[in-house]
C-alpha cells in the first residue's frame, strides 16, 4: 500500500460524506422519482468507493447493476404504481424519532467497533496466493468464487433462481400499451446492443486473469436485453416455455451436474487440477447465460405466458 497523501484523504473524505449525505437525502425524499435518481447517483458514488477500497471486481459489478439495471428496474416499477400512491405521503412521522435515535446509537456503536478493528486484517490473501497456481485461473477473485468456495457460488445461483420464482409466484403477464418507438431510440438501441454483447463477452473472458467474470458479464448482457425490451422488441414472445426455462437453469444445472460428477470421486466439487481452468470457463459461460436471462426476466416482472396458456 502506498503512502496516503493529503489529497487522497480529502478525496476519500468527500466521497464518504457524499455517500452519507446522499443516503440521508434519499431516505428523506417524499418524491419517489427523486429517490430513484438519488439511488442511481448513490450507486455511482458507491462504485467509486469500491475503487478506492481496492475492489475493482466489486466496482465492476456495482457499475453493471447500479448504473444499468437498478435504475431501469426502479423506473419500470415506479411506472406500474398507480399515480395516487406516488403522491401520497409514505408513512406517518409519529414515533420515527425513537427509531432514528436507536439507529444513531447502533451506528455510533458500529463506528466505535470498526475503529477498534485491527489495522491489518489477517484475511486469507496469503492462503489464496499459495493455492492460486492449482486453481485453474489467475484472478484470485474468480479462484475463490468458482473453485475454493465454489459451493457458496452454487448456492448463490440458487438464490437468484429463488428470487425469480418469488416474482413468478405473484402472477402472470398483464398487457401494457406502449408508445411507438422513434428513429433516434431505434438507432441508439441498434448501436448499443451489439456493443453490450461484445463487452459482456470481453468481461467473461477477462475474468480468468483480471477483474470481471460471470456475474458482471451476465449483468451487462441483461442490460442489453432490458434495452431491447424497453425499445419494444418482442423478446417476451421468444422467451417462453421450455427454452426460457432451460436458459434460466443453465448455470445452476451445469454446477449441480459437475457437483454430482465430482461426487463419484467421493469429493464434492473437487476438480481435477489439469481440467480446472476449462471447467471454470464452462461454469462461467453457463452462469453468465443464466444470470443474464434471470435478471432480464426479473425486470419483466411477471412469468411470460406460454403459448398453451389462455390470455
Amino acid at each position: 500500500m502506498e503512502k496516503v497523501t493529503l489529497l487522497i484523504m480529502l478525496f476519500d473524505l468527500l466521497l464518504g460524506l457524499g455517500l452519507l449525505w446522499l443516503a440521508w437525502q434519499l431516505l428523506e425524499s417524499r418524491n419517489l422519482f427523486k429517490a430513484v435518481v438519488l439511488f442511481v447517483a448513490f450507486g455511482l458514488l458507491m462504485a467509486l468507493a469500491w475503487v478506492r477500497l481496492d475492489a475493482p471486481d466489486v466496482a465492476l459489478a456495482e457499475a453493471a447493476i447500479g448504473a444499468g439495471l437498478t435504475g431501469a428496474l426502479l423506473m419500470a416499477a415506479l411506472a406500474k404504481l398507480p399515480s395516487r400512491d406516488k403522491s401520497e405521503p409514505l408513512a406517518d412521522e409519529k414515533g420515527h424519532w425513537l427509531l432514528r435515535l436507536a439507529l444513531l446509537l447502533v451506528a455510533a456503536g458500529l463506528g466505535y467497533v470498526v475503529h477498534s478493528l485491527p489495522e491489518s486484517a489477517p484475511g486469507l490473501s496469503a492462503e489464496i496466493a499459495n493455492n492460486l497456481a492449482s486453481s485453474g485461473v489467475n484472478n484470485p477473485v474468480t479462484a475463490v468464487l468458482l473453485n475454493f468456495r465454489g459451493y457458496d457460488t452454487l448456492l448463490e445461483l440458487m438464490v437468484l433462481m429463488l428470487a425469480l420464482l418469488g416474482v413468478w409466484s405473484l402472477g402472470i403477464e398483464r398487457s401494457t400499451r406502449e408508445e411507438p418507438v422513434g428513429p433516434v431510440l431505434t438507432t441508439l438501441v441498434q448501436f448499443l446492443t451489439p456493443l453490450l454483447i461484445l463487452v459482456a463477452a470481453y468481461l467473461l473472458w477477462a475474468g480468468a486473469d483480471a477483474p470481471g467474470g460471470a456475474f458482471q458479464a451476465g449483468a451487462v448482457l441483461a442490460a442489453a436485453m432490458v434495452l431491447l425490451l424497453l425499445a419494444g422488441w418482442p423478446l417476451q414472445g421468444l422467451l417462453t416455455g421450455v427454452a426460457l426455462r432451460l436458459m434460466l437453469v443453465a448455470g445452476p444445472a451445469t454446477f449441480v451436474a459437475l457437483a454430482g460428477l465430482t461426487l463419484l470421486d467421493a469429493q464434492l466439487l473437487a476438480y481435477p487440477p489439469q481440467h480446472a481452468g476449462k471447467l471454470i470457463l464452462l461454469l462461467e459461460v453457463a452462469a453468465t447465460l443464466s444470470i443474464a436471462v434471470t435478471l432480464a426476466a426479473l425486470f419483466l416482472g411477471y412469468r411470460p405466458r406460454t403459448n398453451k396458456e389462455p390470455g
Binding site: V113, L124, I128, V242
Partner: protein, 483 residues
C-alpha cells in the same frame, strides 16, 4: 457396486433436492412425481447418513478438497442429524399434503420452491461455516417469502412483504456480524473461529449483530411481530413448514453459535434470553387464547413454544448436556406437533370455508381424522405425558427447579395451563353445533392422514427418548457429556 458405507449421504442430502428442483422447474408436468420421489429418496438418505454417523462418528467433508480456512467444510454431528430427521419427517407429511392441496398453476411454482427449501435446510444443518450459513439462511428466507406469496391476493402479499422485510433485515444484520468476525480473525469456519476468538468489543458487536438477526428470524419476543400475520396468512402446508421448520433453522444457527462462540465468553446474556423466553411463553399463550381465528391461534402458540427453547439458556451452564437434549427434543416434538396442527387447521378451513373457532360446528363428527390430529398434536404442545413435548418440558422444568429458578419454573407451568386452555377451547367448539352451517367441502384422504400421522408421531416421540439421546450424543455437540 459401491459399498453403502461409502455412499456420500451428506452431500446427496444437498444435491438431490437441488437437482430435483431444477428438473421440476424446467418440466412442470413432472413436478409432483419428482417431488414425491425426491422426498422418499431423502428419507432414505437421512437413514443412510444416520447409519454412517453411528458407525464412523462425526461427519466432516472438505468441499472441493480445500481444507478450511480456505475452503468450506461440511460438518455433521448428532444435533445436525436430529435436525435433518426433523426436516424429513415434517417434509414427508407436507409432501403428502401438498400433492392434493395445490391447483396446477400453484403447483408449478410450489414444487421447485419446496425442493429448493429442502436443499437449503439440509445444507444449513450440514454447514459449519458462518458465511455459508448466511447463504443457506438467505435461500431459506427467500423460498419462504415466495411460498407465502403463492396464494395471491391482498393478505398473502401483505404477509409476504412483511416476511421479506423481516427476513432480509435479519440476514443482513447477521452478515454484518460475519464481516466483523472475518476481518478480525481471518476465517469464517466455526471450528477455527472458536479456537481464535477472544473477549473484545469487536466480538461482542459481531455476536450481538448475528444474534439479533437470528432472533428476529426465530421470532423471539419482542421480535415476533411479523410471525402471526405471515404464518396465518400462508396456505396450510406453507404455514406448517414455516412454523415447524423455518424458525428452527435460525434457532439452530443461534444454538450453534451459542455453544461454540457465545457461551464460553459468559455474561448475563443467558439470563436475558431466559427472561425474554419466559415473556414469550406468557404473551404468546395469552394471545393464542384470545384469538377467534384458528390459524392465528396456532401461530401465536408458536410464539409461546419458541419461548420454551430460550428458557433453557440460563439453566445450561449448570445443567450440561442433558438440558440441551431436552431442548433438542422440544424442537423436534414441536415441529411435528405444530405441523400437524397447521395441516389439521388447513383441513378444517377448507372443509367449512372459514377458520372461525366459534363456528367449527361438530367438526368432531364430520371431520374426525383432522380433529383427532389437532387434539393429539395439542397433547404434545401442552406437554402432557406420554407425548414428545412432555419429555422436553420435563427436562427443562427439572433443571429449573434444581437450580432454584422458581420464576422460570412457574412460567413454564402456567404456559402449559394456558396451552391446555386454548387447545380445549378449539376442541370444545368442535363438539358443539353452531348456527351457521355452510356447505362443507370434501377433503382428500391424503391431507387428513398427513396431519394425523404427524400428530401420532409427536405422541410416539414420548417413547423414543433414550434412543434419540444416544444418537444426539454423536460428535458431542453440547460438550461435557451428561451431568
Amino acid at each position: 457396486m459401491v459399498p453403502s458405507s461409502e455412499i456420500p449421504w451428506g452431500a446427496l442430502l444437498i444435491l438431490l433436492p437441488l437437482a430435483a428442483a431444477i428438473l421440476c422447474f424446467v418440466w412442470p408436468k413432472l413436478a409432483v412425481v419428482t417431488g414425491v420421489v425426491t422426498m422418499l429418496l431423502l428419507t432414505l438418505a437421512v437413514g443412510g447418513f444416520a447409519w454412517q454417523l453411528q458407525r464412523e462418528g462425526l461427519y466432516q467433508h472438505a468441499v472441493g478438497g480445500w481444507e478450511t480456512p480456505l475452503g468450506i467444510g461440511l460438518y455433521g454431528d448428532g444435533l445436525s442429524l436430529l435436525m435433518l430427521a426433523m426436516t424429513v419427517l415434517v417434509g414427508l407429511a407436507i409432501t403428502l399434503y401438498a400433492r392434493s392441496y395445490f391447483n396446477q398453476k400453484q403447483a408449478r411454482v410450489f414444487w421447485p420452491l419446496w425442493l429448493l427449501l429442502l436443499a437449503a435446510l439440509n445444507a444449513l444443518f450440514l454447514s459449519a461455516d458462518i458465511f455459508n450459513l448466511y447463504i443457506t439462511l438467505e435461500m431459506v428466507g427467500l423460498a419462504a417469502v415466495a411460498l407465502v406469496a403463492l396464494k395471491g391476493g391482498r393478505d398473502a402479499l401483505n404477509g409476504a412483504m412483511r416476511y421479506l422485510l423481516a427476513t432480509l433485515l435479519g440476514s443482513l444484520t447477521y452478515l454484518l456480524g460475519v464481516a466483523l468476525l472475518y476481518h478480525s480473525y481471518g476465517t469464517v469456519d466455526l471450528v477455527l473461529l472458536a479456537e481464535r476468538i477472544d473477549n473484545s468489543p469487536v466480538v461482542w458487536a459481531a455476536l450481538g449483530l448475528m444474534g439479533a438477526g437470528l432472533l428476529l428470524k426465530t421470532a423471539l419476543f419482542p421480535l415476533h411481530f411479523w410471525l402471526p400475520a405471515a404464518h396465518a396468512s400462508a396456505p396450510a402446508p406453507i404455514s406448517a413448514l414455516l412454523s415447524a421448520l423455518l424458525v428452527k433453522a435460525s434457532f439452530y444457527i443461534f444454538l450453534r453459535l451459542w455453544l461454540v462462540l457465545f457461551a464460553p465468553l459468559g455474561g448475563d446474556v443467558a439470563l436475558l434470553l431466559g427472561l425474554l423466553g419466559a415473556v414469550a411463553i406468557l404473551w404468546g399463550s395469552w394471545q393464542a387464547l384470545r384469538q377467534t381465528r384458528l390459524k392465528l391461534l396456532v401461530a401465536y402458540s408458536t410464539v409461546a413454544q419458541i419461548g420454551y427453547l430460550f428458557v433453557a439458556f440460563p439453566l445450561a451452564a449448570a445443567a450440561g448436556a442433558m438440558l440441551w437434549n431436552g431442548v433438542s427434543y422440544l424442537m423436534l416434538s414441536h415441529a411435528l406437533a405444530k405441523a400437524a396442527m397447521f395441516l389439521a387447521a388447513g383441513n378444517l378451513l377448507l372443509f367449512g370455508g372459514h377458520d372461525r373457532i366459534a363456528e367449527l360446528d361438530r367438526a368432531v363428527q364430520r371431520l374426525p381424522i383432522s380433529t383427532a390430529a389437532f387434539a393429539l398434536a395439542g397433547v404434545s404442545i401442552m406437554g402432557v405425558p406420554p407425548s414428545g413435548g412432555f419429555i422436553g418440558k420435563w427436562l427443562l422444568l427439572e433443571a429449573a427447579i434444581e437450580q432454584g429458578y422458581w420464576l422460570l419454573a412457574a412460567v413454564m407451568v402456567v404456559g402449559g395451563l394456558l396451552a391446555s386452555a386454548y387447545i380445549f377451547k378449539v376442541v370444545g367448539y368442535a363438539f358443539t353445533r353452531s348456527t351457521a352451517t355452510p356447505e362443507p367441502q370434501s377433503i382428500p384422504m391424503g391431507m387428513e392422514w398427513a396431519a394425523l400421522l404427524l400428530a401420532i408421531a409427536s405422541i410416539l416421540l414420548g417413547f423414543t427418548a433414550p434412543w434419540v439421546f444416544a444418537l444426539l450424543g454423536i460428535g458431542d455437540p453440547f460438550g461435557g457429556g451428561a451431568p
